[in-house]
Amino acid sequence: MLQPDSLGADSRRNLFSWICSVDHKRIGIMYMLLAVFFLLVGGVEALLIRAQLAVPKNDLVSPQMFNQLFTLHGTTMVFLVGMPVFTGFSNFIVPLMIGAKDVAFPRLNAMSFWMLPFGATLLYFSFFTGSAPDAGWFSYAPLSTKPFSSLPGVDYWIIGLAVMGIGSISGAINIVATVMCCRAPGMSLQRVPLFVWIMFMQAILIVITIPPLNSAISMLLIDRMLGAAFFEPARGGSALLWQHFFWMFGHPEVYVFALPAFAIVSEVIPVFSRKPIYGYAFVAGSSTIIVLLSYTVWAHHMFAVGLGMGPNIFFAAATLLIALPTGVKIFNWTATLWGGSIRFTTAMLFAIAFLIQFVVGGLTGIMFATVPVDWQLTDTYFVVAHFHYVLVGGIVFSLFAATFYWFPKISGRMLNEKLGKLQFWLWLIGFNATFGIQHLLGLMGMPRRVYTYDDNPGWALCNGISSAGAVFMAAGTLVLVWNILKSMKSGAVAGNNPWEGFTLEWATTSPPPLENFKELPEIKSRRPVWDADHPDLADWKSEKTPEDRGHRPAGAKVAAWSFVISEAIFFILLLVSYVVFNSGDEIEGPTSETALDVSRTGFFTLILLSSSLTFWIAERCLRRDKIGGFKLWLGLTILLGCVFIGGQVWEYSGLISNGITVNRNLFASTFFTVTGFHGLHVTGGIIVLGIMYMLGRLGYLTSKRTHVFAAVGVYWHFVDVVWIAVFSIIYLDVFK
């Protein structure tokens, strides 16, 4: 069992104390356990898929069931395994590595976690309705629209994803704020361990990449529930728009998984080579570049839809470009290994296998960046092989490395190395057998997402090998589960620093106490624990790194800005959809010119904008401790917000009484979607302002807490700025 520790010997058996916990380590562990559970669920789905495909003309599962299996397998592995497991490691390790007591917002952290089982329940509850989602993990329109998927499976998929998306964004904002605001003295941002830097980049990427998905699924839900036609070409919508929005999320999402893998390997390889990483700045800098570039390449998933030669060439070039910052890192890791005193622990074996297999996945990725190759191979098993080499050969292997590397810190016990190596070889053989052969199947033209196949020459043998390989991976997973259970009970005691690691998490006990550190070593380089253990060979004596200037922004401000950026992207995409559907040819029925009263809404726009001014005055009053003035101006702000909402209700009721509803035409759909979401944001803002007002009245808000009120201000001003964009685009028609 676990050693007595911060987790509390008495409360450890108490499930309730886990449910109520706001400790980053416990929440991290819960994330990981949830991911392991769904890894097993998604794994069983994968095994069923491979069992069905093991022989030609198999009828083990029905075509309908097969569609559900690959849809849920993809969705589960992405949203319920990949995202949570990395968030779990990030939660557990990042605060330790930067010498913090906890994350910046522990309660928000708990909320982020609990959104996940909530979303997962919604997703899997669809089974009980008799129609699990079956439109693929990317739910391409128009297949996912009501005429083609009339049962509620897709609705559960949408709502499950929306709930989990809220959790992911709030969790990511927390990591961003933690890294920016909670670093121990001496740890400049240029000195954080690479794991911290890259997870920081990943968190930023989550903040900006989930909103396109949220925009897309909100619109799909409005299509399905309220009868709009954003994605129904038969009624004037655009199926292509769904693909753009989805892949604007979907491609950066690949880097949401790849970056943590890079982060893990950048810690494991140096420690087991007993060398500092080769080219820290290159690894860190190239991760930053990846975040930026990952946003510019999405349409390479759409080469086959007929975007035209120009877009295809540009996206192909951008895709080739993003291979560079990824390739740089491969050289950094290899150069770190070079001349190192390598220890082939299980963690290191997995890291090295990652290196090789990820390169294979990367190279086939470069093949796909070439448009003609993509046309030939898209939607074949070559694609399946490619992305499994990235996601399994790369990312899952790095996860195993992380498991073996940090398990001693998390539990206080070592994992059994013999069982670990057995698991490694089972996975290495199983993985390459399953997915390596699929390159051949793809080249031979076997299509993906088809529940069975004819007995073409060679297909039965290749599929047989592929399915047999899956059994090895399943066996390897069982070995890991057994290893974890056995080691928890009777594994060797780990001690503080079993691997002779370099970073701060190894400076505390295993598992760490509730407050994480009794005392911290001095931080003067990127490897403070190494420096403390080897004072003569300390890094700071030989290599200078930028000093910490002690600047730590207020957490509330960082969180507010991150949230606002995320929301801005959400609105930008909704506005893009408005422009797409309203700038082209004449549409039938009402348009903004015929249906909207610009001068009336102009008046209410002035009302909303003046609420920003009154807010600003309220903030000034608070800063000077003039609570009376603060309450007056804040009350006025709330009133102005309510008047604006009243104006919107007036406008809506007028439109609805004229028969202009969300399902009338694409103008009405986009109009109600954009202004409706904006109205919801204003309403949310009014509620928060109301809470602030009450806190002011009760005496909790004083000049010392201005930063909290200022953070609310960031949001309130943002809502106004969004309205300026909405008003110019919809009411003033600047794009016409």
């Binding site: 941002l189 240029q190 820290y280 700045a281 860190a284 800098g285 930053t288 570049i289 930026l292 570039l293 946003y295 510019t296 035209g308 030669m309 120009g310 877009p311 540009f314 070039a317 951008a318 470009l321 200078k544 790194t545 930028p546 930008i572 893009v576 422009v579 797409v580 700038s583 082209g584 040819d585 600047v734 794009f735």
Partner: protein, 272 residues
């Protein structure tokens, strides 16, 4: 096509601007290191390319994508080269006091809004057509691009350390600017409506439009290409600038060099 003599505007007014820039530079700054002079030379060469070469001719109401290349040169490349040509120490010596933080902040705001806004402003359909047809409005547009470009790059590569953004803020500045031009680029690339009507019915003074259109280069394809040019090359340039910011960030700076202006005019390696 480059060989067609009619496509070259040898009598362009841009020579006058180039002459003035060179004169002012060499009178003000004497004995500059070769790398700075090279940056200056590159800047004026790109000015010439933008107006004298066939790009200048085709941009003038003929081909939308050429028009876009001209904009990019004037807004991004030429000002960048000119800013890099400015010697840090000399410029810093003009300002006895360090500018107030508020002023530096305001410069950043103006720079961002100017850099991103110029592109948006001049592509409002009517303005786009008018500025192409009317020479004086065209001149106004080109000089506004140049000015916007200078204030845009100033917080990143400007010679005054005190008005430069810190590298992390600089990354946010450039990345958000990339999103700004991406949005407009996406719109121009994928929209079905005509953004700049004058290019849809271009006056075919050379009689090459028919053959271009027969080869598939229709006004719509032209516009798509223009949108992509507005979108991808600037972002690539910004990523390059971000890489240089990252280098600056990870470089260990001695306390002395952080305080005073960097004496880099004798150090060609420290151009940025």
């Amino acid at each position: 096509m480059m060989l067609i003599p009619e496509l070259w505007n040898w009598d362009s007014l841009v020579w006058l601007a180039i002459g003035i820039i060179l004169l002012v530079y060499f009178v003000t700054f004497k004995g500059m290191p070769p790398l700075r002079r090279f940056a200056l030379g590159l800047g004026v060469a790109f000015m010439a390319v933008a107006f004298v070469s066939p790009i200048g001719y085709l941009a003038n109401g003929y081909v939308f994508s050429a028009h876009m290349i001209q904009h990019l040169l004037m807004l991004l490349i030429v000002p960048l080269c000119l800013i890099l040509a400015l010697p840090k120490q000399r410029v810093a010596s003009w300002f006895s006091d360090t500018p107030k933080p508020q002023l530096a902040k305001a410069l950043v705001m103006i720079g961002w809004i100017g850099g991103v806004g110029a592109m948006w402003f001049w592509h409002v359909p009517n303005l786009c057509s008018v500025s192409t047809q009317n020479a004086s409005i065209g001149l106004l547009r080109d000089s506004s691009f140049m000015l916007a470009g200078l204030v845009f790059w100033w917080p990143i590569f400007g010679p005054l350390e005190s008005t430069r953004l810190s590298p992390p803020s600089g990354i946010v500045y450039l990345f958000s600017a990339c999103l700004g031009c991406t949005l407009l680029g996406i719109y121009i690339t994928f929209t079905n409506s005509i953004v700049c009507p004058v290019f849809a019915q271009s006056v075919d003074s050379l009689g090459i439009m028919a053959s271009l259109q027969a080869a598939g280069f229709t006004p719509m394809v032209d516009q798509n290409l223009g949108g992509l040019l507005m979108w991808v090359p600037p972002c690539t340039l910004y990523v390059g600038a971000i890489i240089s910011l990252l280098c600056r960030w990870y470089k260990v700076l001695d306390p002395e060099t952080i305080k005073g202006p960097v004496a880099s005019d004798h150090e060609p390696a420290h151009l940025v």
